[in-house]
């Protein structure tokens, strides 16, 4: 069985669970991040940005679902991750503890939030258009393709005005839909290099164990080892997420049973699209 860990959710689920596992994760959120999972509020006077809280929420929900699955007697043979999903995935394969995963994403999110105070960034989502058109539109607008989710679903990241221009070009070229979202940092682009030193220092505060379950990463579809995890957590933010290739790799390995471990069903829907193209 394969467990897949999704990236940052766009919004919170409602209603939230209230069982013992959820309450345990909520306690960890309070203790390690100063974040109240139930009210979605920061506890400290310094506060957390809305994006950082959503990132912690996303990891928290993945950790909660992992616990529930294990309590139901389900265990993964392989784990794959998409973007922010890597933190909960590391906990799921016992490379780091749940508290460390939450604290790590909170610290990295808070660090990235500073970028948004210096420059307005945005994400753009063109759907139903070819990869080549998206790449050209992004290049001409000075932004980057941050996620290659399927053959028709992409995420762009960069300066807000550039995202707007790239999406307009995609729309003019026949995209089925385009949408833009504010963000604090241009995730999965080379622009994140300016934060690399700061992020590396944060990551260095944690000790990563060898994954007890194979963990497939989203860039080159290789298995992460304890030795390369710290560098991966810094460099992956500067490179695109290649989910389509990741899912195709999983299929090639031979996995057919898959559970999405987190908030929403985005990866499951991407996988459905990728699988359907094989049949078309």
């Amino acid at each position: 069985m394969l467990w897949i860990f999704p990236g940052q959710p766009l919004h919170r689920e409602s209603p939230l669970p209230d069982d013992d596992d959820f309450l345990a994760i909520a306690r960890l959120c309070r203790e390690r991040c100063g974040y109240d999972l139930v009210s979605h509020q920061a506890l400290s006077a310094h506060g957390l940005s809305p994006h950082t809280m959503l990132q912690v929420y996303g990891v928290a929900m993945s950790l909660y679902r992992s616990r529930k699955l294990r309590h139901d007697g389900l265990h993964p043979d392989l784990i794959a991750e998409h973007s922010l999903g890597v933190y909960a995935a590391l906990a799921a394969c016992d490379s780091i503890g749940e508290g460390d995963a939450l604290e790590l994403v909170c610290r990295i999110g808070s660090s990235m939030a500073g970028m948004g105070q210096r420059q307005p960034y945005a994400l753009g989502c063109p759907i139903g258009i070819d990869r080549g058109v998206v790449e050209q539109a992004a290049a001409e607008a000075g932004v980057f393709v941050a996620n290659y989710n399927t053959s028709g679903h992409f995420l762009l990241a960069g300066v807000a005005t550039g995202i707007e221009a790239a999406l307009a070009a995609c729309q003019a070229a026949g995209a089925f839909s385009v949408s833009q979202f504010p963000c604090e940092a241009p995730l999965h682009t080379p622009l994140m290099a300016e934060l690399a030193g700061e992020l590396a220092a944060i990551v260095a505060d944690y000790c990563f164990q060898e994954p007890a379950i194979p963990l497939l990463e989203h860039i080159g579809q290789t298995r992460l080892s304890a030795a390369i995890i710290p560098a991966f957590l810094v460099t992956e933010l500067q490179q695109p997420v290649y989910w389509e290739q990741t899912w195709q790799t999983v299929r090639t390995i031979g996995f057919n049973r898959c559970i999405e471990v987190g908030s929403g069903q985005a990866l499951t829907k991407f996988n459905r699209w990728i699988d359907s193209e094989v049949c078309r």
Binding site: C125, I127, F176, S177, A266, R272, W273, S276, R280
Partner: protein, 85 residues
């Protein structure tokens, strides 16, 4: 005329979106497909666009058209009846 298409449209939705454990009868003819209804999103919309073209030869060119077409199963059936060859 378009009402005759409704069962086929419901089956297409179930097949295209791989909705497990749901029969066509459980989908309301007039309930919204997105948001509160079946809870579909833009990823689902593109999957339905492809399915409509494959099964009925009908093209939904953009999201603006899609928002009207995918308002309900009945709206989808009406659009297909109006546009198919």
């Amino acid at each position: 005329m378009s009402d005759e298409l409704i069962p086929k449209v419901k089956q297409m939705i179930i097949d295209a979106l791989r909705i497990e454990g749901m029969s066509p009868d459980e989908i309301d003819d007039d309930a919204p497909l997105f948001g509160e209804g079946l809870g579909l999103d833009s990823i689902d919309a593109l999957q339905l666009v492809v399915a409509m073209e494959k099964d009925f030869g009908v093209v939904v060119p953009d999201a603006a058209t899609g928002s009207k077409v995918f308002a309900s199963v009945r709206a989808m059936a009406a659009y297909i009846a109006e546009h198919r060859q």
